[in-house]
């Protein structure tokens, strides 16, 4: 089996769904997907190194965030809920956030998960549509202005091909006529202004998921 190993904290993918990472404590390289998971009471449980028993929970918040930011999306989806929340997290409605800005995706995902939903993100319209072939989000929150595929066109595609509700986000066009356009022309179910107001996001999700 050919194994590619990268410097910590990157991941190497060796066929299938195996992810190797170097332990920050003992430098051993192990298959993280085969690791046991720690029982630390933290928001994101981390794999335990099968060699030295160290988990990443003891690392600083910045180091742990960096670890999860680099983790493959499928690993984050499958393994990140903390143990007490796992059962409810599995049944929580799925929200997809689509935005070409990575930091918007990060903060939106953080907020959506804090509100009790599961969240996946995509960087553009084609990526979102490809993910929707496997995922079934209840709500798709998409930036209106994006390269590759405008969020408004994504809205049309999603409304034509799924039951998902679509929320269009935009920072400039907040006049009532643009909201009307979002609803009537593109079929959006709701509209969110950027910068994101967390209370509005919560109210929107509550209304659409109910």
């Amino acid at each position: 089996m050919n194994t590619r190993v990268f410097a910590e904290p990157t991941f190497a993918i060796v066929g299938g769904d195996h992810y190797f990472a170097a332990c920050p404590s003992c430098d051993s390289v192990t298959d993280v997907t085969q690791s046991p998971w720690c029982s630390c009471v933290t928001r994101e449980r981390t794999p335990v190194c099968s060699v030295c028993g160290e988990c990443r929970c003891r690392r600083s918040a910045a180091e742990r965030l960096d670890f999860w930011m680099r983790a493959p999306e499928s690993m984050r989806r499958d393994h990140t809920p903390s143990a007490p929340a796992q059962k409810t997290a599995a049944k929580a409605p799925l929200v997809m956030v689509v935005d070409d800005d990575e930091e918007i995706r990060l903060i939106a995902r953080h907020v959506v998960e804090q509100l009790g939903y599961r969240c996946v993100t995509a960087a553009n319209g084609p990526e979102a549509l490809a993910m929707m072939a496997a995922e079934e989000p209840r709500v798709v929150i998409t930036d209106a202005l994006m390269p590759k595929m405008d969020g408004r066109d994504l809205c049309r595609f999603v409304k034509r091909s799924s039951e998902a509700k679509v929320v269009l986000m935009t920072s400039v066009y907040t006049a009532p006529r643009y909201k009307y356009e979002a609803f009537k022309t593109y079929g959006a179910d709701d509209y969110l202004a950027k910068p994101i107001d967390f209370a509005s996001l919560q109210a929107t999700l509550t209304r659409l998921v109910a």
């Binding site: 800005d101 930091e103 990060l106 920072s171 910068p195």
Partner: protein, 104 residues
């Protein structure tokens, strides 16, 4: 609604990346001639900054970025947009300094 807590690590990452955003804006405006594609790139960068800055609570930055975006879209002269970007750079520097200042 119970308060949403933004992890310090995310906020720190934003401020770190803000310096890169500002540098990229400055490089883009420096290279701007009348090529439509660079102006569109500038507009998109300002659009992104307007959206993310306020989400992290930096509303002054959002206002500046939004003003810059609208000026780009309206075809404002380069010198006008340069002025806005200079203000954005100053506001970004202030935001980073405020974060590193020890609390009294």
């Amino acid at each position: 609604m119970s308060a949403i807590v933004i992890p310090e690590a995310l906020r720190a990452r934003f401020l770190e990346r803000l310096a890169i955003r500002v540098t990229t804006l400055e490089s883009t405006i420096a290279a701007l001639d009348e090529k439509h594609d660079l102006r569109a790139s500038l507009e998109r960068q300002l659009h992104s900054l307007a959206g993310i800055a306020g989400t992290y609570g930096f509303h002054a930055l959002t206002d500046l970025a939004r003003a810059g975006e609208l000026q780009c879209a309206a075809g404002a002269p380069r010198v006008t947009i340069e002025g806005v970007i200079a203000q954005i750079a100053e506001a970004a520097a202030t935001a980073r300094e405020a974060r590193h200042k020890p609390s009294s």
